[in-house]
């Protein structure tokens, strides 16, 4: 066993010129082969990528419930500004004053909702789960390049989660200056209660979060580059892997910049520097800080912030491509165009950040440049959408829960993407800036879409994760409630936004102009809270199926990729024997001439003379 693994691991690592053999990795594999491991090392401080993936998933689900609950609270306030919410007092304590949610707490709610959803759920929970789970399984590797760093990546995330979660219970409340934490509001504890201890904990938590992302990201990239099995060239990778690979590269390049901004903010808050502060009077007193530039923070923040939205959406895109092709029983349309568009989106994501800052008084010429670059993103996004639709076209579609969510993803991505073209135009954005139109746009195109990708991924790879199937009927109920809920929440929000409702306002009751939309806000709130409760169908289905679900077969979706060649519940090292070699691309579905409707990547062309194309026939001889 051990010698077998050493042989194949060297082959897959392709270690030719490096002088030192990868002995440490193999020793460690060997050592973990014993099944009498202490549970603490098996389930808690595990270095196995599959266990780490499950840890990320369950932590992410916990965070999603917290984030969703916070949004239900502030939707209560927005929908029924006059209502007495005394019944919340046992949960929220002094944040409910005389039956009203305290305005400072409202700000904290929207801030924490954004932070939790963007970073803890859709970054760590999404790519943390699926990059960890699928990269080694789909490229044909025993584990990640460094299992130890991978474990650290989870535990830094855990530490960061603990700090962020504790900040919810501070007397002065958690951070409250928006998830973008713009200074000077976030820099001055005198400004709002949330800029005190809550902000400090936010920053500390994010530093650990960034460390976690970097440890994870370098591992993902290295594994894809170095540990592919024999025959798995970059042009035979499933699109999931391409998406995770590029996502990790974006993270490696952009999270450090958030770190640089956060560190300067820490210095401004606690060490008396003035990077972002200048000429500030607060409560009638002049602050000593001179010479800082708050716009500088926005540049640094959005240099991360924009790639971050692609870090959120690209893993979902990859998984949706995979799920659509598998369940349409057709090759993905335009495989190379899909890779090309992912690369295009990745490159463009670094040169569009200032479209978040059109109203900061930037040079209009510069604004036009960023506008132009921003609108170009519609091209690769359009390529992807048309390819997904063309994949579905005349497919032999199997409506599994995962497939429904994948189709839902495409729908939401189109609906939200179209308004992106509107907001990308500087002139229109100046009108729409900071209204609910923006909120509706990004919740559709990146928030809900990424969630749908996440759900598609969980339903699709659940059998591989837990060896059992999720319940399809509950999956349908979950899908339709969520799909309807999302549209009922965010479609009306566009109207509210066009009418000029600003984001982050506690209540609009003071403005007569907005009173006509009180009903619409009530409607949005109702839909949002119902959609939140619909997620418990999923939570129930998930945990019930782990223990009681129907037992999975080895390849329940008749899929072509490598993870389905492992045992139903893969052990440490993933394949009991040698890692299979790969001979073909991952999308040989319904290949003309073949009597089966899928040909796994591990089948050589020589075994399928009836379906080979001429050049494939040549390869097999």
């Amino acid at each position: 066993m051990a010698t077998n693994m050493t042989g194949s691991s060297q082959a897959q690592g392709g270690i030719g010129t490096a002088a030192a053999p990868a002995t440490t990795h193999d020793d460690h594999l060997h050592e973990h082969d014993h099944h009498d491991q202490h549970w603490l090392w098996k389930y808690v401080f595990s270095q196995d990528h599959k266990m780490i993936a499950r840890q990320f998933l369950i932590t992410g689900m916990f965070w999603a419930i917290v984030g969703g609950a916070l949004s239900s609270l502030f939707r209560l306030q927005l929908g029924w500004p006059q209502a007495t919410l005394g019944w919340l007092e046992p949960i929220l304590g002094k944040w409910v004053v005389g039956g009203k949610i305290a305005p400072e707490f409202y700000l904290a709610l929207v801030t924490m909702h954004g932070t939790i959803m963007v970073f803890f759920v859709l970054t760590a929970g999404l790519s943390g789960t699926f990059s960890n789970f699928l990269i080694p399984l789909q490229v044909g590797a025993r584990d990640m390049a460094s299992g130890f760093m991978n474990m650290l990546s989870y535990w830094f995330f855990f530490l960061s989660s603990i700090i962020m979660f504790s900040s919810l219970f501070l007397e002065t409340g958690p951070a409250a200056s928006g998830w973008t934490i713009y200074p000077p509001l976030s820099a001055l504890p005198q400004a709002i209660p949330g800029s005190g201890m809550g902000m400090t904990m936010w920053l500390v938590s994010m530093v650990f979060f960034i460390v976690s992302q970097l440890l994870g990201g370098v591992n993902y990239v290295t594994t894809v580059i170095n540990l592919r099995t024999r025959g798995m060239s970059m042009s035979k990778l499933p699109l999931t892997i391409w998406a995770f690979f590029l996502t990790a590269i974006l993270g490696i390049l952009s999270f450090p910049v958030l770190f640089s901004a956060a560190l300067l903010l820490v210095f401004d808050r606690s060490f008396g520097t003035s990077f972002f502060l200048s000429d500030i009077y607060i409560a009638g007193q002049a602050l000593p800080n001179q010479g800082g530039s708050p716009v500088l923070f926005q540049h640094l923040f959005w240099f991360l912030g924009h790639p971050e939205v692609y870090i959120v959406i690209m893993p979902a895109m990859g998984m949706v491509s995979e799920v659509l092709a598998t369940n349409a029983r057709k090759p993905i349309f335009g495989y190379r165009a899909m890779i090309g568009s992912l690369i295009g989106i990745s490159l463009l994501s670094f040169v569009v950040w200032a479209h978040h800052m059109f109203v900061t008084g930037m040079n209009p010429f510069l604004g036009s440049v960023f506008m132009f670059l921003t609108l170009i993103i519609a091209v690769p996004s359009g390529v992807k959408v048309f390819n997904w639709l063309a994949t579905l076209w005349r497919g032999n579609i199997r409506f599994t829960s995962a497939m429904l969510f994948a189709i839902g993803f495409v729908s939401l991505f189109i609906s939200g993407g179209l308004t992106g073209i509107i907001l990308g135009n500087a002139t229109l954005d100046i009108q729409m800036h900071n209204t609910y139109f923006v909120v509706a746009h990004f919740h559709l195109v990146m928030g809900s879409s990424a969630f749908f990708g996440l759900f598609a991924g969980v339903y699709h790879w659940f059998p591989k994760m837990f060896g059992r199937m999720m319940d399809e009927k509950l999956g349908y109920i979950h899908f339709w409630l969520t799909f309807a809920g999302v549209y009922l929440v965010f479609m009306p929000m566009h109207y509210v936004g066009i009418a000029g409702f600003p984001r982050r306002y506690y209540a609009w009751t003071g403005f007569d102009a907005f009173s006509q939309f009180a009903d619409l806000n009530k409607f949005i709130s109702t839909a949002a809270i119902l959609a939140f409760f619909a997620q418990f169908v999923f939570i129930f289905n998930f945990f019930y199926s782990i223990f009681r679900g129907r037992r999975a077969t080895q390849n329940p979706w008749n899929s072509t990729t490598l993870e389905w060649t492992t045992p139903i519940i893969p052990g440490h090292g993933n394949w009991p024997g040698e890692i299979p070699a790969v001979y073909r691309w991952p999308y040989d579905y319904s290949k003309p001439g073949s009597d089966k409707d899928f040909i796994p990547q591990t089948v050589p062309y020589s075994a399928t003379p009836e379906s080979n194309l001429p050049y494939e026939q040549e390869l097999s001889e």
Binding site: A18, A19, G231, S254, T273, G292, P604
Partner: protein, 197 residues
Amino acid sequence: MMDATQELPEKEVGLGWHPYRVLLILMIFSFFMVFAGWTSGYIVRRDEGNWREFDLPNIFILSTVLVTLSSATIQWAYYSAKKDELRRVQVGLVLTLLLGLGFLASQWAAWTYLVHQTNTYFGGADANPSGSFLYVLTGWHAFHIISGLIFVGVVLKRSLNYQVHSRAMLSIGNGAIYWHFLGLLWWYLYLFLLLNH
């Protein structure tokens, strides 16, 4: 008909580099991005005016010399390891450590000079972002140098245990790459500050 174990061209797989080397190079990219963020922020901020000018202390030249020499010594240690000259490996690594410590001392002297002779402060009412930026850039670099010293120290320990030689070049190779990166990073920062202060 080929069987399942047929040979596939090896060049389709991997980079031919050890995974740990790839990990290190990727980490170097992310370390650099922190500085890229700050140096571009520096330029944006400087162009907005209210920017206090001051001269860089000449001690930075000494720092530059020390860090460049230390790159030479670790490269010498690397070549010696390739030729199995184990004694020279250890001498080279110890010299690198000493030069690295010298670099830190020289940086400390430069900061002291800046505070006492040119009244350039990190924070407080008399500070200007021009000075604060300088301390952040050089301070964060010094922090990396400390991590590099630990790295070189680990390689030295391995070398004393006969774990560094011509057939076990991974650790010293990675140590050298990281140390050269720190040297180049200093060159970048120093030239950047010279051109933009």
